[in-house]
């Protein structure tokens, strides 16, 4: 049943122009950024043999491209997730799901997997760009895989936050704004942490950006993995609770 809901969600996304527009714009921006990194690499390439332990194609092109993709995800996650529940609640189509023999957890997981599939498509298209360098160069595939895993984990948590925000309102725009607010806070909380000693470092631990960086350097950080999985599970759990509150009808 989860996959029926997920398939419907994904199809719903592609039946509206929004998903196509987002895909097009993301590819355009990512293509531009990728080419900028390639251009920069070509400029510094003659000096690289003189540097000890110099970064290669992966460090100078793939990692920054994936880093840029994360910032872009911060902007598009609210747009893609805003409608998932909010619009269905506004159109009263959520009742069709509520009267089916499916649990609230199934509904949340189905919807989540549907939007996640869309984000994974964006990741796949993004990763194809650095992979295209294999045609004429050498890539550290382990580092690239690690960076990609980091991006996927980051997006998993973003999608969960967006889904939860969408369960709180009947207005997709409001859901998008609040999702952006929460994600941006998760991003910049790192800044607050830098200048406030021990308490600051505890706050900085909550930063989504801090946990992404090790993956970009090719480090598989289990603490970061746990962080993303915890954030994802927590917001999905909150979404289930929120949908269950509909039934109580308070």
């Amino acid at each position: 049943m989860i996959f029926v809901i997920a398939r419907r969600e994904l199809r719903n996304l592609f039946l509206s122009p929004l998903a196509w527009i987002v895909l097009g714009i993301v590819q355009l921006i990512m293509g531009f950024l990728f080419l900028s990194h390639v251009n920069l690499f070509l400029q510094v390439e003659p000096r690289l043999p003189m540097i000890h332990n110099a970064p290669g194609l992966t460090g100078l092109i793939a990692a920054p491209t994936l880093g840029n993709a994360a910032v872009l995800m911060l902007l598009i996650a609210p747009i893609i997730t805003m409608r998932v529940v909010a619009e269905e609640r506004r159109n009263h189509t959520l009742t069709l799901l509520y009267t089916a023999p499916v649990s609230r957890l199934t509904i949340v997981l189905g919807k989540y997997l549907g939007v996640l599939a869309f984000f994974l498509l964006i990741v796949a298209l993004t990763v194809l760009m650095p992979l295209s360098l294999l045609v004429g160069g050498h890539l550290d595939l382990g580092m690239l895989a690690c960076g990609t895993l980091g991006l996927v984990l980051l997006i998993m948590s973003f999608a969960a936050v967006g889904l939860f925000m969408s369960t709180l309102t009947t207005h997709p725009t409001l859901a998008a704004i609040s999702t952006f607010g929460v994600l941006f806070l998760f991003w910049i909380i790192d800044w607050a942490g830098r200048s406030h000693g021990t308490a600051g470092s505890v706050v900085a631990y909550l930063s989504a950006l801090n946990h992404y960086e090790p993956f970009l350097r090719g480090l598989f950080d289990t603490s970061a993995l746990s962080y993303y999985l915890f954030v994802t599970a927590a917001f999905l759990g909150l979404s289930v609770r929120r949908l269950d509150a509909d039934r109580v009808g308070a």
Binding site: M1, R8, T93, L96, T99, A250
Partner: protein, 306 residues
């Protein structure tokens, strides 16, 4: 003893300070055509929402075909199809896709279910529009799609929440033909409607809800017999200039040669009324009596009309 299609015991529902349901006990037998009537705010929709799993009761129990709506919700929802009052639809899908997705929610796939969906499309005269987007359909067509959606999993019990609201006469007639067919095939039908003549024509038993309680629950004929009033229409040879003082509180309508009076069955006698008219100088040409219809019973029960 056969398992009732719908069974509720002591259902209560509070929405903050509003007490929407106040201990509703109800039993609808399998295969029955049951009417659920009541004025706006009586609690009909709340009751339906509890049965459908959209709302959780504050107290009491509800079962569909013996399955508790809370503890055995999967099987209770498999047994129930609800046609909602509002026209709700996914704006991006075609009719055929909507039915396929809805069937998917119930775990139904395979050629047998494909055939059933095609049968539904044909029975509801939606074949021509099967690949049309929902946004392109008229209100009546959308209402038919909602009925098809509610039936896509072949539920034993079908709740129709005002299915003909805002529907034109022709479509209404065709919908009733289809719903009668469903009933003849063994489905239990629960109908809520504001068109009381529909309930009178279709339902075997009727419950009238008032202020969250069941004000009356009986077979249709027994309910009609409860009416304490009937109508007497008297035609006179003379023009009806004024109604005699003793009859003025009973007047429903006055025309040139005709007066329509509402009589209390246990109190007013027709010979006495006629005598009063004759004494006032009128010659009686014709008279007719009419028993109360469901609408009058409904008004007496819900508005406390004497």
């Amino acid at each position: 003893m056969p398992v009732p299609a719908i069974w509720t015991e002591g259902l209560e529902k509070h929405f903050g300070s509003v007490h929407a349901l106040r201990g509703v006990d109800l039993e609808v037998a399998s295969g029955e055509f049951f009417g659920l009537l009541g004025p706006n705010g009586a609690g009909k929709s709340t009751l339906i929402n509890i049965l459908a799993g959209l709302t959780r009761a504050s107290a009491g129990h509800a079962r569909i075909c013996g399955h508790d709506v809370l503890t055995d919700y999967r099987r209770s929802r498999q047994a129930l199809g609800v046609v909602p009052q509002e026209i709700v639809f996914d704006p991006f899908f075609s009719v055929r896709e909507i039915l396929r997705i809805q069937a998917g929610y119930f775990g139904l796939k395979g050629p047998e279910n494909d055939r059933w969906r095609e049968e539904l499309l044909a029975a509801l005269m939606l074949e021509d529009k099967a690949d049309a987007n929902m946004r392109a359909l008229s209100g009546g067509m959308k209402r038919r799609v909602l009925i098809a959606q509610a039936l896509v999993h072949r539920p034993q019990v079908v709740i129709l929440d005002e299915p003909t609201a805002g529907v034109d006469v022709e479509l209404r007639a065709s919908l009733w033909v289809f719903i009668r067919r469903l009933h003849a095939e063994g489905h239990t039908i629960v109908l809520t409607t504001h068109y009381l003549e529909e309930a009178e024509a279709l339902c075997d038993r009727i419950a009238i809800l008032k202020d969250g309680r069941i004000a009356a629950l009986d077979r249709k004929q027994a309910l009609l017999r409860r009416a304490v009033h009937k109508t007497l229409t008297v035609t006179t040879a003379e023009v009806m200039r004024s109604v005699p003082p003793g009859l003025q509180d009973k007047v429903k309508k006055v025309a040139e040669h005709c007066v329509e009076l509402s009589l209390h069955k246990g109190v007013d006698s027709i010979p006495g009324i006629l005598e009063t008219l004759r004494t006032a100088g009128y010659t009686i040409v014709d008279l007719a009596t009419e028993e109360a219809d469901l609408e009058e019973v409904f008004l007496e029960l819900t508005q406390g009309r004497p």
